[in-house]
Amino acid sequence: MTGRFWLFTPALLMLLLTGLLALATPASAQSDERAALQERFKQRYPALVQLKRDGRVGETHLGLAGAVRSEYLSQRVDKDDDESPTVQRFLNDENRDRRRLFELLAEELNTTAARVAEREARRRFDTAAPYEYLRPADGEWIRKRDYDRRE
């Protein structure tokens, strides 16, 4: 009996380790993805702030960034740099990552991505500078200072 026990112990340990790894992997993968997302947001952040200062980009009630006028979409983020991505490309990247973040947080907090997006929009509206453009649900772009007066 004792001999059999020792015979099976390594196999049992391997099984246990495999199970633990299988349990740990999804959480770890999600954490890695969040870290990668955060890094990309960090890299884009200075450009996003500059675009908002320029009045070319604003925040929408959907928790996403948008171009205040359609003609800005074809402009370069850095107008003096021909290698700089267009505003359209910049916004596509930013909003793709935001949507993914909403999904990840929704999964983690057992809620919907739409709710996370709504809270994110609220957070961005609250923290916006007075000169920044916001687009509430009515669809009109409005500066934060005018939005506050209206509210």
């Binding site: 070319r56 907090l109 996370v116 809270r119 000169y131």
Partner: protein, 88 residues
């Protein structure tokens, strides 16, 4: 002393009877169900989401943003922007 004995017996019997009957009756205590209102749950989840978002975007506080700055003249739209087509 003996004159009071029947009274004591009667009173004792009556008390015992009352206690016996009282013990046999069923007492039902009704407790109102605890109602978890959706609004409480909503507030709770909103707080959790806000906390996670604040934590995730905490790097934004490190970049100084001049809230008193005016939009630059180069890209600042004049008047009220009417555009659509810039849908996110």
């Amino acid at each position: 002393m003996n004159r009071h004995a029947p009274c004591c017996w009667m009173a004792g019997l009556a008390l015992a009877g009352v206690m016996t009957v009282g013990g046999c009756t069923s007492h039902r205590v009704t407790v109102d169900p605890v109602e978890v209102r959706p609004i409480h749950m909503t507030v709770d989840i909103n707080i959790k989401i806000d906390r996670e978002l604040d934590r995730f975007f905490d790097f934004e506080d490190e970049v100084p943003v001049d809230h008193g700055a005016r939009a630059s003249s180069t890209g600042s739209p004049a008047g009220s922007p009417k555009t659509e087509g810039a849908q996110p």
